[in-house]
């Protein structure tokens, strides 16, 4: 019945994303942070050299984390460990696959290695997640083999505005697709610059063929609940848990309180009474950076080919 090996590979990749639904994936930079994230209820951690807020403030070229750093984190926790490679940097992806990470994030948070092409993700056995600002971008990434989409916010800012905008974009575009006649889909696919078979699939099912998570700028339990109510199936939280501002880490107790509260808000996102409790138990939030004060060149979401 199931002899199609290529199809099985896709099912396993999307299957792990299915297991991460309703959860929080937290950025961590060492084993201790990974342990805090796990004990607070994270479904996975993203192993990084620097969190996005640090990358933003320190500048320089941001690359894949050092293998020994990722290994240290992998051995500290029992939950899945993800790591980022630069956009188009298939050699970093090859290294991460051999290292044995559970998911690779081909991420605009790192400095892109290729301004025209993304990694051919279907050539890998390890699953990939990619960011998207709109439906066309999401479907192009899925066509390249991404098994999970995260709608792009503006990473490292603690400002939720772009995460909201892009979630709404994708939802609106999907809704409008479902209203089109079959004959109209060909031309719509051309406008989206996305493959017809995926456009057709979305038009018929009313959703993306892979799980859609939200990332970038989530800093509070209320932010997590907001993106969940807008349709995100899980939430990535980067700098929002461990950073006081873009330079210094907050205390462990504070990080723990934020992590637990965001996990709970992600699960009970439709229950305002519980959301009130999660907001009240916070010991503080990241200072953040208003994205409206950034110039376009400073925005990570536009990096790499769209």
């Amino acid at each position: 019945m199931q002899s199609d090996k290529e199809n099985d590979a896709v099912r396993l990749k999307v299957g792990l994303a299915e297991m991460l639904k309703g959860g929080v994936i937290m950025d961590v930079t060492d084993a201790r942070q990974a342990e805090i994230a796990q004990s607070a209820g994270a479904v996975a951690v993203m192993a990084l050299e620097r969190v996005p807020a640090q990358i933003r403030s320190e500048g320089g070229v941001a690359r894949m984390a050092a293998p020994q750093k990722i290994r240290e984190i992998m051995s500290a926790v029992s939950i899945p460990v993800m790591a980022k490679c630069r956009i188009g940097h298939f050699a970093e992806a090859q290294i991460l696959q051999v290292l044995g990470v559970d998911y690779i994030d081909e991420s605009e948070v790192l400095t892109p290695a290729d301004d025209e092409y993304h990694v051919d993700k279907s050539a890998f056995r390890v699953p990939f997640v990619c960011g998207a600002k709109n439906l066309g971008e999401a479907l192009r990434r899925i066509n390249e083999g991404a098994a999970m989409i995260r709608t792009k916010g503006e990473a490292g800012t603690g400002d939720i505005v772009h995460a909201v905008k892009h979630l709404r974009n994708i939802r609106r575009e999907i809704r409008s697709l479902t209203l089109l006649e079959d004959a109209e889909l060909y031309s719509y696919a051309k406008n989206l610059q996305a493959p017809y078979h995926l456009v057709h699939l979305v038009a018929k099912s009313g959703k993306l063929p892979v799980p859609n998570f939200s990332a970038g700028g989530v800093a509070t339990p209320a932010d997590a609940a907001l993106v969940r109510q807008l349709g995100a199936e899980s939430v990535f939280v980067g700098s929002g848990i461990f950073m006081k501002d873009s330079v210094t880490f907050c205390s462990e107790a504070e990080a723990e309180s934020r992590a637990k509260a965001i996990v709970r808000a992600t699960v009970y996102f439709e229950d305002p009474k519980i959301l009130l409790e999660t907001a009240a138990e916070l010991l503080g939030t990241m200072k953040g950076l208003a994205t409206s004060q950034l110039v376009t060149g400073d925005l990570l979401q536009y990096r790499g080919a769209s």
Binding site: Q2, G15, K21, Q38, A42, V43, S78, V126, V263
Partner: protein
């Protein structure tokens, strides 16, 4: 006319939606369970795949949900898949963690390794040699079964689908395949007239 069966799916995190979709093949009343009080309205419970550490944290934090869930799975039919099997076990290794003790089994977490070791296989049920598709994702292994536990399927010499009374555990994901045999056997066990539940 038989009365309809209410099946709850624990919806804290993980593949609860996939289970809900799978249950649409049967004439059962399926609903998501978010709080302890939701347990009062169901006849049986599915504990889905996901991350067991996340579910543990949420169950222990939200008031008396853990105790109520423990009481429920000791009294009523339950089905745990992957992380759900870990939660229903009586002992958990790698690392040691709390569990509900609904089945007399010891489960070892991440026993096959990481995501690159996830795999799909065609297997056979022990009771009637029928086909079963096995989707393993960062799967645990059942390393001990008590005397009251019946093994329904094995893979590589280890039990992967077990039953004790009306409760079952599977280390694979029946919610990620079109093969419905795990649900059929579990529901048949709860309500022997399974043909009345099956949708045609």
């Amino acid at each position: 006319m038989i009365s309809s069966l209410s099946i709850g799916v624990l919806a804290l995190q993980g593949s609860y939606d996939a289970h809900l979709q799978s249950l649409k093949r049967f004439s059962v009343n399926a609903r998501l369970i978010h709080h302890a009080e939701d347990l009062a309205s169901i006849d049986a419970l599915i504990v889905p795949g996901g991350e067991s550490t996340t579910m543990l944290e949420l169950l222990k934090k939200t008031g008396y949900f853990w105790e109520e869930l423990q009481q429920f799975v000791h009294k009523k039919p339950s089905l745990g898949t992957c992380a759900g099997a870990i939660l229903l076990a009586s002992n958990v290794e790698n690392p040691t963690q709390d569990c509900l003790g609904a089945l007399d089994i010891t489960v070892q977490r991440n026993a096959y390794g990481r995501q690159l070791q996830s795999s799909i296989h065609d297997g056979r049920c022990k009771f009637d040699d029928s086909d079963i598709e096995l989707v393993f994702i960062r799967a645990p292994k059942i390393v001990r079964t008590g005397s009251a536990v019946e093994v329904l399927a094995e893979h590589d010499g280890s039990p992967i689908w077990v039953k004790q009374g009306q409760t079952m555990a599977a280390t694979f994901h029946p919610e990620l395949t079109s093969n419905a045999i795990v649900y059929e056997k579990w529901l048949e066990n709860i309500k022997p007239d399974i043909t009345a539940l099956l949708k045609f």
